[in-house]
């Protein structure tokens, strides 16, 4: 049994996520095998690219049902977070439907897109995943789509309008930013995830 499985979504940022956990002393298994995913203590769903392509990749790997049945703590990162919701307008594609919400183009109110760079969070919930993180910490974002603020938001980010920076429901959570590329505070979130007992 692996402490952590990083789901091989066929997307681009898998090695940077792997190395980020390695820096925390966690040697993750990168796998697309449903049995390995089922046997893992924790699961990370990374993702960079488009929602349609990523859902196709998951379908080809016959991973959709496995991921929908996950009982362990699972963290989606960036596109991986968006895939946890019901539906994405990026390619108009149904997603895993583990956390209510819909992925829509960012309403950036005239600001430049993609939303690319370091930004702060606000409305941070009391939650084990957010321990030690406050409104002065900067996280690295790169995206043009997002999930609106809703009751599952653990933190919001303001870029023209508020959107969900972190969401969670039960054992499943997601971060819109890239904790693997967000310096010390990003590492803190990943460490929090490794200690999370939902």
């Amino acid at each position: 049994m692996s402490a952590l499985v990083i789901v091989d979504t066929g997307c681009a940022n898998i090695s940077s996520v792997y190395f980020a956990f390695k820096r925390l002393g966690v040697d993750a298994l990168i796998s697309k095998d449903p049995r390995a995913i089922k046997a893992a203590n924790r699961i990370v769903l990374p993702g960079v690219g488009s929602a349609r392509q990523a859902m196709q990749n998951l379908q080809q790997r016959e991973l959709i049902e496995s991921l929908q049945a996950v009982q362990q703590p699972m963290l989606g990162i960036c596109l991986g977070m968006q895939l946890l919701t019901a539906h994405s307008m990026e390619g108009d594609v149904p997603c895993l439907n583990l956390i209510p919400g819909e992925v829509l183009p960012l309403l950036a109110d005239g600001l430049r897109l993609p939303h690319m760079g370091w930004n702060t969070l606000h409305s941070i919930a009391e939650h084990p995943l957010m321990a030690g993180i406050d409104g002065s910490d900067y996280f690295y974002f790169v995206h043009s789509f997002g999930v609106a603020a809703n009751r599952y938001s653990l933190a919001l980010c303001d870029y023209g309008n508020d959107f969900s920076a972190v969401i969670a429901k039960g054992n499943v959570a997601g971060a819109q930013f890239h904790p693997e590329r967000s310096g010390k505070v990003g590492a803190r979130l990943l460490q929090n995830f490794m200690e999370w007992q939902p």
Partner: protein, 257 residues
């Protein structure tokens, strides 16, 4: 609030970081990984690695250092140089780079930008542009193969036209290197960057000319760029990133401390 980015640029030749003045006379600055690590720890917001020989030599270069960087640093980084195809880009991204930047190959085959966009998403695709002010015509013109002085040549593109073209093709970010300013530390080309800013709906990164902390404040405040890239002032410790950031914050620029 979204922070403006400070981006040290590491020119890479044969696995070493080098620095030239106006793209010439390269001298070795140091090894890639320790320098990358040092900048990340010092507060750099992002790093760019340019393999400056790749496009002009027409060879595929050894990029195994990309993975070594991905292992140690915890900030985003972009790799440029010799990426001519979706396959080339895929290998770099698999090794852990966050973005890939194309320059000469996009000029030779603009469709490359669209292919990269469609495969990896807009956020991965940076287009680097080397722009030179031609005094005779009074125009900014795009140059290619700038890594090799003997092959550097003017293209048919005016900089403003090429900026608009690559945005239509799906570029997610543009790095505008103002060649007249490169390496001379007299300040960024504010006039050109402001003009391009008005045409650029994606993030715009200023490159070429940083010599003092005041130059960074100027380019953020006057040209409204999203990031400022610099090499020699960091490599030669003319500017410490921590001092730079403290002074920019004091000047009211939105900066990640």
């Amino acid at each position: 609030m979204l922070a403006k980015r400070i981006i040290p640029c590491l020119d890479v030749r044969d696995g070493k970081v080098v620095k030239g003045v106006q793209f010439r006379n390269h001298e070795v600055v140091g090894d890639i990984v320790p320098l990358a690590e040092r900048y990340a720890k010092a507060g750099a917001d992002e790093l760019v690695f340019y393999d400056i020989t790749a496009s002009s030599d027409g060879r595929v270069v050894d990029k195994s250092w990309v993975q070594r960087i991905a292992e140690v640093i915890d900030i985003p980084f972009c790799v440029a140089g010799g990426i001519k195809s979706v396959e080339d880009a895929g290998r770099i991204l698999e090794m852990g780079a966050d973005k890939i930047s194309v320059n000469s190959p996009a000029l030779l085959r603009p469709e490359l930008v669209r292919e990269l966009h469609d495969t990896f998403g807009q956020q991965c695709v940076v287009v680097g542009i080397d722009s030179f002010f031609d005094v005779a015509s009074g125009q900014y013109q795009v140059y290619q193969f700038t890594g090799d002085e003997s092959r550097t040549q003017k293209t048919r593109w005016l900089t403003s036209d090429w900026v608009q073209q690559v945005q239509q093709l799906g570029a997610g970010e543009i790095v505008l290197n103002c060649m007249n300013q490169d390496g001379v530390r007299k300040g960024y080309d504010i006039a050109q960057l402001s003009a391009i800013r008005a045409l650029c709906q994606v993030p715009l990164i200023a490159s070429g000319g940083a010599g003092a902390i005041g130059h960074f404040a100027e380019v953020f405040q006057q040209a409204d760029v999203d990031g400022a890239l610099a090499a020699s002032v960091f490599h030669k410790a003319v500017i410490e990133i921590a001092d730079l950031k403290a002074q920019l914050i004091a000047a009211g620029v939105s900066i990640r401390p």
